[in-house]
Symmetry: C2
């Protein structure tokens, strides 16, 4: 009864996720002396005393971010924590505490939530973080999980995404594309299951990529490794949306361009074979797949000897002047502009 | 396809909200040296450097916590922030930063979210806190808002809910019962509106209680006031669920009993007149109504002269030995055991 009867209505799809956040928060300014960095990085940064504290939060919605038909609740709980720890790692900080809130409809029995919290507990133990709070409430439909993570780092250790310089090397951890292909496998098996519920899927040939999808790990080891190697990245981000999207975030944030070399992108053999099986281009899978939760960062060329040959790290390109733009240099030495492709643009 | 076909199923209703949180988190321990207090108070407490940091989080679900038929989105955004700041105040800390995550179905146009964020922004400005992060995602149904707040306090200033002592005085800020009655008025008008959409409700006689429901304020002034008065409460909690429920939390946390005096409970004249109109017992409304976001705390009797006569504070009872239990002493000098009554138990 208090509503305007003739409101303007702009569909949300017109903006997309990042456009929406930017739009909604553009008029917000920060005033607290302890706020070092607000919205615009993987996590917020606060300074309390001698340490800097980072905070990040994520919301996972059933039917949008996960499908309980193939995501066991224990894995889901684990993953919900991991994706936040990954954001803390991407700030070069050490995750310390989390809060977990859930909204849940009454179609879920207690045992389902116990499974979920078993996964949350497993992640807390694996990564040495403390669950320090949360909220549980009922929902009118489905399950929703909201996790917030805190982390700490000594002053000057935090790495943002806006300090990459031309000629810096672009480095990625681990390998890419597995999580997306794992999802393709699981979705295919779900369709098979619908036709014949007695069919037992043989997921063994896909064990690595299915685990990348269902039980990803956060690279909390990387900030420690970088400290040991005495390398402070100039910029860092985690790969939640796909390599090309994250590179473009680094380029935009740092006002630089980039050359990414196709032949340097690290791919697991299972990613290559499964891409072939699904008739997908494995480079496109790595560029657009997302959910790998590896770290992408830039370092000064002077630091190259320190990381050379490290099995966790692959140099995949270098930054350029902004005006040169961001490009993929293919195996055929062709330069293609990098685009933040969506998940539907991947059929080869 | 990975699900157990014959799982045990315990309906969530069997546990209730607090039982559920306790049950799900009972096996969690904390290991980070910076974690001072995990789950079990209004907010978690961390120690980074010389300051202590508190963190709290809340989840609001459409159809569970709010009804957009009478809660304007701007007020909803404001309230979503306030309820978290209230938790920070209840730790005797100063709120500094928040993150806001929303899940929203595509029935909401952008303008609706702009309204919501206008309310969030208003609360940030009013309380001097910074929005430092968040997440927006689509939902399959309705609107869901998750807010996390951080706050700080010098070491030793934080007040928990477990240090009340027998003979301590029980003190409450402001007045009680307004928010619940405001909701009754709004729900009545919604029914009237359904019958005759052209009917314009006259809410003027209910202005105070409707505002208590739609646009509550957090008592961030109270930690400052207590500092000025040189009073450190022995225990403190905010009143989100109703006075009796919060008193029982203090008693349980501090292992004490309590005598609450009916004739001392502060009530606004509008609460008294509207209770009569709705044939509700105003004491029961104050005891069980909830959502007033006032602070409830205990102080040593030695501190009584410091708070005596302060217009913000009412002494409503005193703590006793645990074995004496928690009681309401009625106007007729009868002692009735305090119970954490639900919202449906209030018809007089």
């Amino acid at each position: 009864m208090l509503e305007d009867k003739n409101p303007q209505r702009t569909p949300l799809e017109e903006l997309g996720e990042f456009g929406l956040i930017d739009h909604l928060t553009k008029s917000f300014t920060t005033t607290q002396p302890s706020t070092i960095k607000g919205i615009s990085d993987d996590a917020a940064v606060m300074e309390f005393g001698d340490l800097q504290t980072v905070m990040t939060t994520d919301l996972l919605v059933e039917g949008v971010h996960f499908d309980l038909a193939y995501a066991p609740l224990k894995h889901l709980g684990y993953k919900a924590v991991v994706v936040n720890l990954s954001d803390v790692s991407a700030m070069n900080a050490k995750p310390t505490q989390i809060t977990v809130s859930i909204a849940v409809s009454n179609r879920f029995p207690l045992e389902a939530l116990e499974e979920l919290y078993a996964g949350i507990g497993l992640a807390c133990k694996r990564y040495g973080v403390d669950l320090v709070g949360g909220d549980t409430t009922s929902s009118t439909k489905g399950l929703l999980i909201s996790v917030t993570a805190l982390g700490v780092a000594p002053k000057n250790d935090i790495v943002y995404r806006n300090q990459a310089k031309p000629n810096d090397l672009l480095v990625v951890t681990g390998d890419l594309g597995g999580a997306y292909l794992g999802l393709q496998v699981l979705e295919r098996e779900k369709e098979v299951f619908k036709v014949n519920p007695n069919n037992q899927p043989d997921l063994a040939p896909y064990a690595y990529i299915v685990e990348r999808q269902l039980k990803p790990e956060a690279r909390t080891d990387i900030p420690e490794l970088l400290k040991e190697l005495e390398v402070k990245p100039t910029a860092m981000i985690d790969i939640s949306d796909g390599l090309s999207s994250e590179i473009l975030h680094l380029c935009k944030g740092s006002k630089v361009g980039c050359n990414l070399y196709e032949d340097k992108i690290p791919l697991d053999p299972q990613v290559i074979s499964t891409s072939e099986e699904f008739e997908l281009n494995s480079t496109m899978v790595a560029l657009s797949g997302g959910e790998d939760y590896e770290l992408l960062f830039t370092i000064s060329q002077d630091d190259y000897p320190k990381i050379k040959g490290n099995p966790h790290l692959s140099v995949i390109g270098h930054m350029t002047e902004e005006k040169e733009g961001a490009h993929l240099v293919t195996r055929a030495q062709t330069k293609i502009p990098l685009e933040a492709r969506g998940w539907n643009a991947m059929k080869s």
